[in-house]
């Protein structure tokens, strides 16, 4: 399936290559570079590029292109999903996935890639198993390794691959047994000029960090499971149990994992927690434009809105902006025309605003459209859909674990058209 993998950085250097079948010359990447040139922007590079003898499938993450070389028909999502899994694994191993980090850990990277694919077919992709096979590098371990001459490679054999629950490693031991669940909801919305909602939906995930000894069997139930319209599970969740009782029953992997992602049914009206008042105008005659934005809370269920960041791609005609924020900091990049305003927390008594003027290119006609405003924000301790976890029970082990549940609401793709 997957013949080879090339890692290419933003300046177009191939800084890592790995082959699972016979070697494919790196000159095959020339086709990729051609496509990259044509696309002008990195994110417009087509994910699938045909070449005379191969097909190049790529993903772009962390400013690195992961280019897989394919020779025969294969479902493209299969490869793309796998490449994303590779990136996730690197992130899991090294904390960040960047060129210098990969270069520093090239041996571990190579070992991991070797285990993930056999003859181009995925072999071990669960991070729990991989970590058992190849230990992730830590500072302590590096020190110990240099002194004692021991290695990254686990000396035990990967029994997990053979086990009943392939996602969980065996023999897990903790002194403090804890299980944390984060319910994170994102609001995707498009708000039109007048402030009415064109489309809004809520997507949520439950991320878990489970550090429990042995083979715990957990069940998690909701107060209002009906809210969940469409769900996808980590493979550990027992599907039938969910179908019949709407309860999540699972033997968790060890460590961090995404238990569930869901979509809240479209019938429920989505509460929009913020509003944006805007007054952006270009005049035909003068080379100055007015710019004014105010952000305020709307339906927040009494919670504070934090981490507000406003970004907007200004039209090409805008040369510069002189703005004064009532709070926070703002930047305008005259090259990319990107305006970014880091607002911080919204104080309902004193609404944050950003006012000023834009200087436009002399002689150029006014842009036909006002820029779209993208919004980011966070609300702690609130799941905007109203989803609530009822209880978490553990079976199969004797000890009493510490349990914690956290809620958070974030802006997903939140756009205000002006």
């Amino acid at each position: 399936m997957i013949h080879s993998l090339f890692l290419i950085n933003s300046s177009g250097d191939i800084f890592l290559e790995k082959h699972w079948k016979s070697v494919v010359s790196r000159s095959v990447c020339d086709y990729f570079f051609e496509a990259q040139e044509r696309a002008t922007e990195a994110e417009n590079v087509p994910p699938v590029i045909p070449t005379p003898h191969h097909y190049l499938l790529s993903v772009y993450r962390h400013k690195i292109f992961f280019v897989a070389v394919i020779q025969t028909e294969v479902p493209p999502l299969f490869v793309i999903e796998f490449l994303h899994r590779v990136v996730d694994t690197f992130q899991d191993y090294f904390g960040v996935c960047s060129e210098p980090v990969i270069k520093d850990n090239v041996v571990v990277v190579y070992e991991v890639l070797e285990e993930m694919l056999d003859n181009g077919f995925p072999l071990a992709t669960e991070s729990n198993i991989l970590k058992e096979l190849i230990k992730p590098p830590t500072i302590l371990r590096t020190v110990v390794n240099t002194i004692t001459g021991s290695t990254n490679v686990g000396d035990q054999l990967p029994t997990g691959q053979l086990s009943v629950v392939p996602w969980r490693r065996t023999g897990v031991k903790y002194t403090n047994n804890e299980a944390y669940f984060d319910v994170i909801e994102e609001i995707d919305a498009i708000i039109d000029k007048s402030g009415s909602t064109i489309t809004a939906e809520i997507q949520g995930v439950i991320d878990a960090c489970v550090k429990l000894t042995g083979m715990p069997d957990l069940t998690l139930s909701f107060m209002n499971p009906r809210l969940l319209d469409d769900v996808s599970f980590h493979p550990c969740v027992r599907f039938k149990r969910w179908e019949s009782e709407r309860i999540l029953s699972f033997i968790p992997p060890d460590g961090n994992f995404r238990l569930l992602s869901y979509h809240v049914s479209a019938q429920n009206l989505v509460a929009i927690p913020v509003y944006v008042k805007h007054n952006i105008s270009f005049r035909d005659s003068s080379s100055l434009g007015r710019f004014e934005i105010t952000v305020g809370p709307k339906q927040t269920m009494g919670k504070a809105i934090e981490g507000v960041i406003v970004t907007s791609q200004m039209p090409k005609g805008v040369l510069n902006m002189s703005l004064t924020p009532s709070q926070g900091t703002h930047t305008f990049d005259p090259v990319t025309k990107m305006l970014s305003w880091d607002v911080g927390k919204i104080n309902p008594q004193k609404l944050p605003s950003l006012k000023g003027t834009m200087s436009l290119q002399a002689g150029a006609s006014k842009p036909d459209e006002n820029p779209t405003i993208n919004l980011q924000f966070k609300i702690q301790q609130l799941a905007i859909s109203g989803l609530k976890v009822n209880r978490l029970d553990m079976y199969g082990e004797k000890y009493k674990p510490f349990k914690g549940i956290k809620y958070m609401t974030k802006a997903g793709k939140f756009q205000v058209r002006t």
């Binding site: 890592l16 290559e17 922007e41 087509p46 020779q71 053979l162 199969g396």
Partner: protein, 864 residues
């Protein structure tokens, strides 16, 4: 220069080496051009020395540096002899890195690679399954043709290994060997056939992958394993699922008849002709009803449905395409929700999913209509995503939603991304042609856009308006006049050409403007683009024919200009038009028809989706994405008109009992119970069936769950018998069995939880087997009940009887798959609580027994 800098790099590499390598004795002093070469040599010398040292740490450092070289794409092949020596190292990491090196360079150094073979051969006999597996993995990855016989032998042995993990690696090795030496195909197919029978979930995905690569046309190998694969599917790892689903899609298209209703009438007629005698029974059934889905077909659809919930986009897409290609059209709509969910994912996933949705939305609009708003474009989307979304929105447009859509399009037209704005205008044009009610509104909107500041937008609008007017040649004089005025301002050649063509076509409707336009064009003729010049010539010719009084001289002037144009196309056209329209002696019969030729009624262009012709590719494939046939693409065959004999999928029960029992269980349970564990699996699936079909099934399930959760096992069995008799009162046999079962479980009272769960399993097996015989035919079950009465209470005999009905025609799995009509109402009584069944299904089958243990022991805690 370049060679110099290269050498410097090497040097610095060498410098690092001295820092890293603790054993390194030689220090490198870079000095001048002479030193460069020696240092290069030295550097590798240095690595060789490290590899030959006694200390593992030095070897390891050397190997790490070599791996670094490989990663950068540098050639490290000359170190081969030094590296190969370490293949038998005790240190696992060194060994692994040597393996990595070996697999990369063995092809180039075949003779030396042979030195390592004996090590692997030894490891293949290792008592540890993981060592056996990894030895096989590396051995088969070494692409050295000489060792093909050794590999073949190793694969054959590994395929019969006790460990499923080793067998999995054997399946991978099959593909490697096949690509190395295709002549081994026949032998390899034998191994594949053997491995396909494997019941381990670990092996299933890999062996199907091997099947797809080596012998995708040997569909006959699948028959006997079809039902097993369907049932294992949920528990196979995600990558295997994708491969299996794609293979089963192809399989199903060759084995079942179409569930799509349109074809039904045709099919039925033909069936009457070609019917064969041995299948008479089924056919009569089919004649009565227009279409009955093959139970195996249903099984596949039912078992893949839960996978729509997978976190893996590839699995979801695979299931979606399966539903699209195989399920009845009414059922396919459940996939849309899951596909829309994938749109939240990364841009690459979005891209592929949107492409597939685009193809689907052309054929079945209704599927995605409820999700219209999910395809609204955001300004932050990459352009390729934007255009795909537009495409889908166009496909979904209908009378009901067009007004909202048009409002949405209005914002897109104003987008800063002009390429996208232009695409939107084309989209509006397509909507206007598809939905006749809004054509006028769209036209007006497009005319407004003509005053847009952006030239690309205006040009695109003109082109689209031209197409629209061509379709509705009625009274649009006003618009044409407006466009004629635009000729002064628009500079984009395509747009100018479009306007001129439009005026020429409608010259009789705008008799005053047309000659004036020609006059103006005559002035600017020489400076126009070729495209525009051709249209000026056309306009002149048309006017000459309709209004020769006013335009005769102008046209001749233009024809003279055209005669001396630089472009031969234009000179050609000029000559042609002159001969055609200007009457002279030489001109033959053609000039009489000049008007008919030039002003003929022209068919309106069809504005079609670029995704229209993609539907002949299987969805979710690379070929579909590229819209060309990729190497190795396997065509999805059309539905057969007559289904091939469904009996080929039947598996002998004796085989069933052995083959289908999950591996984990075989060890723990005695042979007589194997049978039950098999039918328990089936019971679980039939349970899900009854759950969805009727409430009563789930109610009785709850009942038995109560019994299950309490510790008292006699209560347990009584609840069993209660629910059993409830469903099948008429059948005496059941009652007897239950009574017997009660006795047995009573005697076992006080045994471990594990035992208890087994008895409940066995009782469920009985109830399901009863159902089999009864559904087969009433008379048969009666005859079966006779020997039953004489029966001694021995487990083994019972199993033999249970087999009887099964071996006849229908295998175990068929029954719960039959339509409710054909099955006597008897619903299987779930003796296991639904939650337990859920557990069994959700978990790896091979382990279910041990899980039951832990679960049932925890149950009381939850109750208290």
């Amino acid at each position: 220069m370049s060679s110099n800098s290269f050498a410097y790099n090497e040097q610095s590499g060498g410098g690092e080496a001295t820092e890293l390598g603790q054993e390194a004795t030689s220090t490198i002093s870079p000095s001048g051009a002479f030193g460069l070469f020696s240092s290069d040599l030295k550097k590798n010398e240095d690595l060789k020395q490290m590899l030959e040292s006694n200390k593992d740490s030095a070897k390891l450092d050397a190997m790490k540096r070599i791996v670094g070289m490989m990663a950068k794409g540098k050639n490290a092949s000359e170190l081969f002899p030094a590296v190969v020596k370490n293949v038998a190292s005790k240190n696992i990491e060194i060994k692994k890195l040597v393996y990595v090196y070996l697999v990369r360079y063995a092809e180039e150094q075949q003779d030396l690679a042979l030195l390592s073979i004996s090590t692997f051969q030894r490891a293949l006999k290792d008592p540890n399954q993981l060592i056996r597996a990894s030895a096989l993995r590396v051995l088969s990855s070494i692409r050295v043709p000489i060792i093909v016989p050794i590999m073949m032998l190793a694969i054959k042995e590994a395929a019969a290994d006790l460990s499923p993990y080793v067998r999995k690696n054997a399946a991978h090795a099959i593909q490697k060997l096949y690509s190395l030496d295709p002549e081994q195909k026949e032998m390899l197919i034998e191994v594949i056939e053997k491995l396909l029978k494997d019941k381990s979930t670990l092996v299933a995905g890999s062996v199907v992958m091997a099947f797809e690569e080596v012998c995708p046309d040997r569909i006959d190998l699948i028959h006997k394993n079809y039902r097993k694969l369907c049932n294992l599917l949920v528990d196979v790892e995600e990558w295997g699922q994708v491969v299996i689903i794609h293979m089963l899609t192809r399989y199903a298209r060759t084995q079942f008849v179409s569930p799509w209703k349109e074809d039904d009438g045709v099919e039925d007629n033909e069936k009457n002709f070609y019917e064969s005698d041995d299948e008479e029974k089924e056919k009569t059934e089919k004649r009565k009803k227009p279409y009955t889905m093959d139970p195996d077909h249903r099984l596949l659809i039912r078992n893949t449905k839960p996978l729509l919930q997978s976190r893996n986009a590839a699995v979801v897409m695979a299931v979606a395409q399966l539903f699209w290609h195989l399920s009845p059209k009414s059922e396919a709509s459940i996939i849309s929700k899951s596909l829309v969910r994938l749109l939240r994912s990364n841009r690459e996933v979005q891209y592929i999913v949107l492409q597939n949705i685009a193809t689907m939305s052309i054929q079945r609009k209704g599927m995605f209509e409820p999700y219209l708003k999910s395809f609204y474009v955001r300004s932050t989307d990459p352009t390729m995503i934007k255009t795909l979304k537009l495409e889908i929105l166009t496909n979904l447009a209908n009378e009901a939603n067009i007004s909202t859509l048009l409002r949405e399009f209005q914002t897109y037209v104003k987008s800063q991304d002009k390429q996208f704005a232009a695409a939107t205008i084309q989209t509006i044009g397509r909507c206007a042609t598809n939905i006749s009610e809004i054509t006028d509104a769209c036209l007006n909107g497009l005319v407004c856009l003509l005053s847009n500041r952006d030239e690309i937008v205006v040009a695109e609008s003109v082109v689209v308006i031209k197409k629209l007017l061509q379709m509705q040649p009625a009274q649009h004089g006003e618009i044409i006049k407006h466009m004629a005025k635009l000729l002064d301002s628009i500079t984009v050649p395509v747009a100018r050409a479009s306007i001129l063509w439009l005026i020429g076509e409608n010259c009789e409707r705008v008799p005053k403007i047309a000659p004036d336009v020609l006059r103006r064009m005559a002035k600017s003729f020489t400076s126009e683009d070729d495209l525009v010049k051709l249209q000026i010539l056309n306009l002149g010719a048309k006017l000459y024919l309709t209004n020769s009084k006013q335009t005769k001289l102008l046209t001749q002037y233009i024809l003279n200009l055209g005669k001396y144009d630089q472009n031969y196309d234009i000179r050609d056209r000029t000559r042609f038009i002159r001969q055609l329209i200007v009457p002279n002696e030489k001109s033959g019969a053609l000039s009489k028809y000049a008007k008919k030729i030039l002003l003929a009624q022209k068919p309106a262009p069809l504005l079609e989706s670029p995704f229209k012709d993609r539907d002949h590719f299987q969805l979710g494939t690379l070929s579909h994405t590229l819209n060309t046939k990729a190497t190795g693409y396997l065509e999805l065959s059309n539905w057969p008109e007559v289904a091939p004999d469904p009996a080929v999928r039947n598996v002998e029960v004796i085989e069933l009992a052995k083959e289908w029992t999950p591996a984990g269980k075989t060890k723990k349970e005695n042979p007589s119970k194997k049978f039950y564990s098999e039918s328990e699996e089936e019971d679980g699936s039939s349970d899900s069936n009854s759950d969805s079909e009727s409430e009563s099934g789930s109610e009785s399930g709850e009942q038995s769950e109560e019994g299950d959760s309490s510790d008292d096992s006699s209560e347990d069995s009584s609840s069993d018998s209660g629910s059993g008799s409830e469903s099948e009162l008429e059948n005496k046999r059941t009652a007897k069995k239950n009574a017997k079962n009660k006795g047995r479980s009573d005697s076992e009272d006080g045994e471990k939880e594990n035992e208890k769960s087994k008895t409940s399993e066995s009782s469920s097996a009985e109830s399901s087997s009863v159902e089999e015989s009864s559904s087969d035919s009433e008379s048969e079950s009666e005859s079966a009940s006779k020997p039953e009465s004489r029966k001694v209470t021995k487990e083994k005999e019972k199993t033999r009887q249970d087999r009887n009905p099964v071996t006849k025609d229908v295998s175990l799995l068929d029954l719960d798959d039959f339509n409710p009509v054909s099955t006597p109402v008897a619903l299987p009584t779930p003796a296991l609580s639904p939650s337990l069944i859920a557990d069994l299904e959700g978990l790896n089958l091979s382990a279910s027994s041990s899980v039951i243990n832990s679960r049932s022991s925890t149950k009381p805690c939850s109750a208290s």
